[in-house]
Amino acid sequence: MYTQALLLLPLVGFGVAFLLQGTVKRSPAIVKTWAMLGFAAIAAVAALAGAEIGTLYEGPTVFGSVLTYGLTDLSWWFVLLIAGITALTTVFTLGSLRYADDYPMYYAWLFAKVFGMIGLVMSRDLLSFFIMWEIMSWATYLVMQQGRDESRKAAQGYLVYAISAGMILLGGVVFLRTASGSFEFAVITKFVAGADLGVIITAIVLVLVPFLIEAAVYPTHGWLPSAYASSETTMTAYLSSISTRMGLFGLILFVFNVFGLDVIDRIGISAHLNLRTLLLVLAALTAVLPTYTALFQHDAKRLLTWHSIGQGGYMLLGLATASTLGTAGGLMHIFNYMTYVALIIFSIAAVEYRTGTTNLNKLGGLITRQPVAFLGMLFGIIGLAGIPPMNGFVSKWFIYRSLILGGYPFVALAAFIATVGTIMSVYKLIHNTFLGQLPERYNEVREVGWVMQLPIWVLMAVVFATGVFPGTILQWIARIQVELGIAPIAYTLGGVAQEAGDLNMMVITLVFTLTFIVGAVIFFMGGKRRIVSQYDNYAAGHFLNKDVPYNFNYNFYSAFDHIFEKLYHAAPVQSTERNLGRLVATVGEYIRRFFTGQINTYAAYYVAAVIIALAFLKEVL
C-alpha cells in the first residue's frame, strides 16, 4: 500500500503543482506550501514503506508484459535518500527561491523527477525500468532548463547525452528481451548465466554504458558540470547529491543483481584483468581528473559539480572491488556524499542569496557575516575531504582499505591523489568564500533566515552523527550487501568489528573531543586576547585600508598552474571537454532545427520513436 502511495504521491503532486503554476506570480507561497506538504508526505511514506520490502506489485500491462514494481533493501535505501534530500531541498527553497516567478514549473518538474527516480529504483522488470529511466531523464532535463538562458543551453547538452544513453539503453532492453524472451529480471539472470561471451558482452555494453553516462563516469562526464552549475543553486544541490547516483543505482542493480558478479567476472583475460579492472581504472580516472579540474574553477557551483563527478569515482571504486569493505564503502559513500554536498551547496546558496554571486573571485571574508553558512560549509568540506570525524571519512576508509588489501596499490594511490586534490579545492572554496579580507561591499550582508538555516543545521547534524556512529548507516548497508550476494560487513555502532579491520569512530571522536578540550584549556590559559580590525594587519609596514586590495584568491594553486599549464591546456581533459562541447552544440542545434525548438514537439517525437521500437519488437516476437 505504501509502495503504491510512493508512486502515486509524486504524480498527484505533479498534477496539482502543474495546475498551480499560474499562481506562482501572485502568491508563490501557495505553490511552495503545496510542494512542502507533498514532499513531506513522500518522505513519511518512504519511511513507512520499509515494512513492504520484498512484496511485488503489478502495474498496468504494456506490450503484453506486466510492469512489476516493489521494494528491495537496495531500492528502499535509495527511496529514503531521494525522499529525504528532496524534502530538505524543498525546505531550503521555501526561503531561497526568492524570484519564484522565474521558475514557474520548478516544483512540478521536481515532482515528476521524484516520480521517475522512485519508480526507477522500485522497478522490478526491464521494461518498467526503462520507462522510468526515460521519465527521470526528461524530468531532469526539464528541471535543469528552468530559469535563465544559460541553463537552457546547458540542459540541451544534458539532453543530448540523455537521449544517447536512452537510445543505447533501449537497444539493450530490446536486445535482452529478444535474446531472453522476457523483461523479467529473474529470467534475464538465468539467461545470462548460461549465455555465451559475445551475448554477455553485447548486453553488458548496451546496458552499462547508459549508466556510466548517467553516473558521469570518465570520459562520459562532459555534460555534467555546465548542466548542473548553470541551474538554480538549490537544484544544483539536488542534482549533484542524488540525480547522478541513479546511474550508479542501475550499475549496482545490473552488475550485482541482474547479471551477477560471476557473469561480469567472466569478461576478461585473467583474474586480475577483467571488466572490473576496467571499471576500477575508469573509476580511478573519474576520481582524479575531475577533482583536479575542480581545482582550477572560479565558480563555487562549478567547482562542486566537478566534485560530484569525482566523488562518483570513489563510489564506483568501492563497488568495483566487489569486496565486503569496498561495496560497503561505495554504498555508504552515496549516502555520505549526498549529505555533505547538499550541505555545501546550501551554504553556497545562502551566500548567493545575500550577495548575488557564486564567483569565488568576488567573495571573501563572509565568515563574520554568515557564520551559520560558514559552519555548514566547514562541516561539509571536512566530510568531502574525508577528514575525521565527519562521515566522509568512514566510507573513504573502507574504500582505501579494500583497495590496499585487495591488491590494487595504484588504484589506491589514485584515490589518495584525488583526496589531496579534494582537500585543496575545498579549502579554496571555503577560503575564497568565507575567509580572507571582507570586501567593503559585503559589510551589510546578514545571515539567512531560519527556514534556510534549518536544512543546513539538519545536514550538519547528519554529517556529524553518521560520522561518529557509522553503524547506524552500516546496518542498512549490511542488509543491502546480503541482498546483493556479498558477505555483509561486520559493523559496530562506531565502525567495523575487529576482525574486518580497525576502526572505531566513537573512540576517535571521543579522543578528538578530549584533545580539543585540552587545546582549548591551553588556549584559555594564555593571555587575554582581543579581536582586531582586518586592516590591523601585517603589510610589511604599510598602511592598509579598504582601498588596498589585500586578498589572495585568484589562481589559488599557482604552483600547480605552473606545472600543468601546458599539460592542462593540451591534455585530453580539456580537449575532450572542448570537442564534446562542440559536438553537443552541433547535435543540439540539429535537434533544435529538426524539432522546431519546441520541447513538447520533440518529446512527442521521442516517445513515438520508443513506441515504434517496441512495436517492432512485438512484431519480431
Binding site: K528, V532, Y535, D536, Y538, G541, F543, L544, N545
Partner: protein
C-alpha cells in the same frame, strides 16, 4: 615601577620572569644604517641566539623593536604602526646616538631627533654605530632588567598615550593604525577603567 611594587612580585612572577628573559625575539626591521651590525651579531661570530635572541619577521611575533639608528619621518610612521602591532610586553631599544638626540643628523630636515618622544624606549645603546659587542651587552642588560621586573616602560605607552600621540601628530599629522590604544589599555587592564 617603585621598589615597593617590585617587592610585591609573587614567587610565580619571579620564576616566570627568569624563564621569559631567556627568549627574546627581535623584529627583523632595518630602520637605519645600524642594521649592518646586526647580521654579524646574529651569525657565527657573535651568535645572538646563545641568549635566546632571534630575529623575527613580523611585528606580531616580536618582543624587541630595535631601532637601528636614525629614523626618517617616513620610517617613524611605519615604526609606530609596527610598534602598535606588537604584542605586549614589548621593548623598544634605541640603537646609536641618532636615536638619542639626532646624532650627526641633528640638523637634518628628514630625521626625527629623539626617539623617546614617540615611543617608550626601554634602553638606549649609545655609539655611532655601536659594535656587536655593545648590542649584546645592551641585550644582556635588557635581560637583567626583565629578570628584575624593571623592564616596564612599554606600559608607559598605554598610560601616557596622549603624550606620545601629541608628539606623533606634531611631527607627521594624523596616522591611522586601526587600533585604539586607549581602548586596549582599558581592555587589558593596564589603566583604570574609566566609568
Amino acid at each position: 615601577m617603585s621598589d615597593k611594587e617590585l617587592t610585591q612580585r609573587s614567587a610565580w612572577e619571579t620564576v616566570l620572569a627568569s624563564l621569559k628573559k631567556r627568549s627574546l625575539w627581535m623584529l627583523h626591521y632595518c630602520t637605519g644604517c645600524g642594521a649592518v651590525e646586526l647580521p654579524p651579531t646574529m651569525t657565527s661570530r657573535f651568535d645572538m641566539e646563545r641568549f635566546g635572541i632571534m630575529p623575527m619577521v613580523t611585528p606580531r611575533q616580536a618582543d624587541i623593536l630595535l631601532i637601528t639608528g636614525y629614523l626618517s619621518v617616513k620610517t617613524l610612521k611605519r615604526v609606530i604602526l609596527i610598534y602598535e602591532q606588537m604584542q605586549a610586553p614589548k621593548y623598544v631599544v634605541g640603537f646609536g646616538s641618532c636615536t638619542i638626540n639626532g646624532g650627526m643628523y641633528w640638523n637634518s630636515y628628514a630625521t626625527m631627533k629623539s626617539l623617546d618622544r614617540y615611543l617608550p624606549v626601554e634602553l638606549y645603546l649609545a655609539g655611532c654605530m655601536p659594535r656587536p659587542e655593545a648590542i649584546i651587552s645592551g641585550f644582556n642588560s635588557l635581560i637583567d632588567r626583565i629578570d628584575r621586573g624593571e623592564a616596564n616602560s612599554w606600559k608607559d605607552y598605554y598610560e601616557n598615550y596622549e603624550f606620545y600621540r601629541k608628539n606623533q601628530e606634531h611631527t607627521f599629522g594624523d596616522i591611522e593604525t586601526h587600533r585604539s590604544i586607549a581602548d586596549d589599555a582599558q581592555y587589558y587592564g593596564f589603566v583604570e577603567v574609566t566609568k
